[in-house]
């Protein structure tokens, strides 16, 4: 079962608490979040968040955190379970080295999203910056997923070892859906792009393919979940027209050495 959807599936009777985050330095805010979780709250609504870092850092609890305001860097770093909803933009390092759970950002996000991510989902409604999904990897039944509603900057999926990245490119000029060096050093996983791109934007280690029926089914499911959670209108998107990037080799650096 996908661990990330637990918080959503809970019907009602969620023990909720609201917290005004304005007064708190991140250290204090995160301590409060932990103590609220320990006293049994299942949903924590943080109001007035303004750049506090590390929200959700290392949390292993099945908790839902709603963030009103812009959280600081490393949102959900080392996170292993929670569901985080951001009703605004997010900054750098969203879902850094995340193990499971879900982060939804109803806005833009900065650089280095989902670095080294091993499981769970990150949905960014608008654009993301550089270095998204670097060294994502899958492990056993954990398949990390990043879906971006707008465009992604350079180095998307660099060194990618597993997992799924989808870029929908809503409102993005043709050919600009991703930046340069996309998939450099990629040796596992898959990247889906809603728009075709020039070969010059790709790293040497990836190849372009057409999507097949399985891909389309997978995309349909992800896009509808994405739309439901982020509120993005995806009516103009046709999964059948996506392109798919796969690594040319699972061992791109296997022949670099002599003994």
């Amino acid at each position: 079962m996908d661990k990330s959807s637990h918080a959503l599936q809970r019907e009602e009777e969620v023990k909720t608490v609201e917290l005004d985050a304005r007064r708190f330095h991140y250290r204090e805010l995160n301590e409060r979040i932990k103590s609220l979780i320990n006293s049994g709250y299942e949903e924590i609504i943080l109001n007035g968040v303004n750049g506090q870092r590390y929200i959700g850092d290392g949390l292993v609890h099945k908790v839902r955190i709603v963030i009103n305001g812009v959280p600081g860097n490393d949102l959900g770093v080392f996170m292993d379970g929670p569901f985080i909803m951001v009703n605004d933009n997010a900054q750098d390092g969203v879902g850094n080295t995340m193990n499971s759970g879900m982060i939804v950002v109803r806005g833009h996000a900065g650089d280095v999203i989902g670095y080294g991510m091993r499981g769970g989902k990150i949905f960014i409604r608008d654009d993301v910056g550089y270095r998204t999904g670097i060294h994502m990897k899958s492990y056993r039944d954990q398949v990390p997923v990043i879906v971006v509603g707008g465009s992604a900057g350079d180095f998307l999926g660099e060194y990618m070892a597993g997992g799924i990245i989808v870029v929908l490119g809503v409102g993005v000029n043709s050919g600009k859906i991703v930046g340069h060096y996309t998939g450099t050093g990629m040796h596992g996983g898959v990247i889906y792009l809603a728009d075709s791109i020039d070969q010059s934007r790709l790293g040497n280690e990836v190849r372009i393919f057409l999507v097949n029926d399985d891909d389309v089914r997978r995309l349909e499911a992800l896009i509808s979940e994405f739309s439901r959670l982020t509120g993005l209108d995806v009516s103009g998107i046709d999964p059948e027209s996506f392109i798919k990037l796969l690594p040319a080799s699972h061992r791109p650096y296997g022949n670099m050495y002599v003994y």
Binding site: Y54, V77, T97, R131, G188, G254, V258
Partner: protein, 501 residues
């Protein structure tokens, strides 16, 4: 052209008069040198001089010699250089090697001499008086503020940061599961526990079986983030951000898929058989500010356990170390250019970085000059070969040292430098079950404990001769060192006077 363009490096000689055909050598050689056809035969071309067969032959029938083949001398074209060219002319690629720098660079430790007391200041007899080797790793306060409580007792006003107590100023360096076997890691963990010191997971995650030793383990967070998750980060006593490694400064690591079996895959949390590629930098760290961000991400995740930052010693190591201290690290782990590795391109291992002796001296000096030496503990590694090196490293300014290669040698390693092949006959740098099973963790642990205890005795003896009764008083005490045969510029960098001065 014959396949074997390069002559064998070593010649394996089996004395057939003595050989009783027990075939132990066939079983023991990890490199498949021996075969049996009516009698024991040996393919010398595969031999790496690891001595496993020699040690296990009950009749001492095996000798390994260097191939005496003459090469025309040439002072500029060293034979090793010629061999490298032959190899690379045959198959294109970087030459891979294992273990630490084997080039005859000047070894500064061997040019430093330790002082002793005579007449005017009494030495201390460590047999008669207590000698303190206990060391605390972590951030020390800028000052202590005390007040009297209501009962008139003196109490501390400013809280102390978490520190880790080690009984000896020697810890084990990071060697990952994957680069070494689980049995080797087990041996190190058992030894660390018995000695009251620390081991380090390296970047390969922490195997379930080692969790019981967690009070003696530093867990590493490297660029590939292998096996890094909340439980892992919280398991150890500290977390180490591995930026670089002395044997391969500035480059990433490639653990080939062949070494990622079921167990290694479980610990690294990557699929079996896939290459484990560690990017050269952490892609979330492009600046000191980014480093600070990760340091505090780790502190937040672990309830503010100490964080160590490991770097390879490079040219401007002092400025980097200052940045690391100011970024909030509690320890700086300096890995000198002689540090070992499971695999590194030879060009990097042998030519990149600077000696640990210089790095300790300049980092200690810089942090003192900036008034921030108390903010971090310095752990020195990469070329610590003996108790004398331990004393010299601490006198130059380290708080403690870490040993990797020395620990492996204690467990049988012969420095054959073939760790990257995964065929280690000693069951250390291998994941082949028939090889790893031969390394008994308890046997290994006992040898490690013996080694560290021996060095501790020697360190105490030297401290006594110096008239010092606590290792703390030796730290940064460069006045008790003199150099012999170093140039004036190096003396100045080291902050050490020449002998006679």
């Amino acid at each position: 052209m014959p396949d074997r363009f390069l002559p064998s490096e070593f010649i394996v000689n089996v004395d057939h008069q003595r050989c009783r055909r027990c075939k132990r050598c066939i079983l023991n050689c990890g490199f498949g040198v021996f075969d049996f056809q009516n009698m024991t035969t040996a393919d010398s071309s595969k031999c790496v001089a690891c001595h496993r067969c020699v040690v296990f032959c009950p009749e001492e029938a095996i000798t390994i010699t260097r191939n005496p083949l003459a090469y025309r001398e040439h002072a500029s074209w060293d034979v090793e250089l010629r061999k490298a060219i032959w190899k690379q002319a045959q198959n294109s690629g970087m030459i891979l090697t294992g273990m630490g720098n084997d080039k005859p660079w000047l070894n500064i430790f061997d040019h430093l001499l330790i002082d002793a007391c005579q007449v005017t200041n009494p030495s201390i007899d460590p047999l008669r008086e207590p000698m303190e080797l206990r060391t605390y790793l972590g951030r020390k306060p800028d000052r202590l503020e005390v007040k009297l409580d209501s009962e008139g007792k003196i109490v501390l006003e400013n809280p102390l940061e978490n520190n880790i107590m080690i009984n000896v100023p020697i810890i084990f360096s990071g060697m990952s599961y994957g680069s070494i076997s689980l049995n080797a890691q087990r041996a190190i963990a058992i030894a660390a526990e018995r000695l009251g010191t620390l081991m380090n997971t390296g970047e390969g995650g922490l195997h379930e079986e080692l969790y019981p030793y967690a009070d003696h383990i530093i867990v590493q967070c490297a660029s590939g983030r292998f096996g890094v998750h909340s439980k892992y980060l919280n398991a150890g006593v500290a977390v180490e951000i591995k930026i670089g490694q002395g044997a391969k400064p500035g480059i990433g690591g490639h653990l080939p898929g062949e070494k990622i079996g079921r167990e290694v895959s479980g610990t690294r949390m990557i699929p079996q058989g896939t290459d484990a590629l560690s990017p050269a930098p952490h892609h979330d760290i492009y600046s000191i500010e980014d480093l600070r961000q990760l340091i505090y991400a780790l502190k937040e995740a672990t309830g503010y356990k100490p964080v160590s930052v490991k770097i390879a010693t490079v040219h401007n190591v002092a400025a980097i170390a200052s940045g690391i201290a100011r970024a909030g690290a509690d320890m700086i782990y300096l890995d000198g250019f002689r540090g070992g590795t499971g695999a590194s391109p030879a060009v990097v291992r042998d030519h990149v970085g600077i000696p640990i002796e210089i790095a300790i001296a300049v980092v200690d000096e810089q942090l003192r000059n900036e008034g921030i030496r108390n903010m971090v503990s310095i752990i020195a590694a990469g070329g610590i070969r003996s108790s004398a090196d331990v004393v010299k490293a601490i006198a130059l300014g380290a708080d403690a040292v870490a040993i990797g290669t020395a620990a492996l040698i204690a467990m049988g390693c012969r420095l054959c430098q073939k760790c990257y092949t995964g065929n280690c006959s000693w069951g250390i740098a291998t994941q082949r079950p028939e090889l790893t099973s031969r390394l008994d963790p308890d046997w290994g642990a006992e040898r490690l404990v013996n080694l560290v205890n021996s060095w501790s005795l020697e360190v105490k003896e030297v401290l006594g001769a110096l008239g010092i009764n606590a290792i703390e008083s030796l730290r940064g005490n460069r006045d008790r060192l003199r150099s012999l045969g170093l140039d004036p510029a190096t003396n100045e960098v080291l902050g050490v006077k020449p002998v006679g001065k």
